[in-house]
Symmetry: C2
Subunit: 152 residues, 2 copies
């Protein structure tokens, strides 16, 4: 991406590649130790005895890694003003140590905010896949952006 994006730059149907990032066993355990210390996020043995089938990243860790890709691949070069929430998030497959996650954004639509002139909200469908091309996470997420004409 070479352009700095404002609200007007997100046409419905636009697809934006957000890049890739790997996650190590050490990172999975460190994140889980701090934020989600359930056994299947902390040890291979407990993971094998669970529905996850092996040591697997906390879903919140997957979400945080996705966020980093979103900042590096889009928001770092855009007039983003935060997000009010998530409409729907699905953890579709476990994320295991040394998986490489790739994220993609699709613009579903957008509208100017009447309550906050100069801002618009863009609705995105984000997808995260692993190195085998399997979907591991999807989320629908509205994000606020400054409009071009008022941001100059």
């Amino acid at each position: 991406m070479s352009t700095y994006r404002h609200f007007e730059d997100f046409a419905p149907g636009t697809i934006i590649d957000l890049g890739s990032r790997s996650v190590s066993r050490e990172e999975i355990i460190a994140f889980a130790s701090e934020f989600d210390p359930q056994p299947f996020h902390l040890s291979e043995e407990a993971g094998k005895g669970s529905l996850l089938g092996g040591l697997a990243a906390s879903g919140w860790h997957t979400a945080a890694i996705f966020m980093r890709l979103l900042v590096d691949g889009l928001l770092g070069q855009a007039a983003g003003q935060g997000a009010p929430g998530i409409d729907k998030l699905m953890w579709r497959r476990p994320v295991y140590a040394d998986d490489t996650l790739t994220a993609k954004a699709e613009v579903l639509g957008g509208r100017p905010l009447r309550s906050k002139p100069g801002l618009g909200v863009v609705s995105f469908r984000f997808t995260v896949t692993n190195q085998r091309g399997d979907l591991v996470m999807t989320l629908d997420n509205p994000i606020l952006f400054a409009c071009r004409e008022t941001a100059a």
Copy 2:
């Protein structure tokens, strides 16, 4: 909590206190530096120039802190088997340095999983408030639990 909870132990309407946790300026900046390096999550000055009104935690950091409260206050003493996703999450107010977050769970309902005998899904509405009693985050989240009879 002194009991180990299974699927059958979550009657609709049950309210469970999940405890409290504070977040420091250093933690806000460390999390954001790794996962969400947008300016308003990294410096007071950029935060003041944003909709957030000051240095504010990444929404994913708030979610991760909530998750830790959920594990310490409930899942650490329950037959939890992970979660398929989030139905809806709202970041309602910014979380600032030295805020103390308190989380609460309300059981909305539950049903056994036909596709996976011995498991049930419980639907929760979680709320996170700050030290002033303001709601900062709400999320609706289904979580899987082993049933009592098959888990013995």
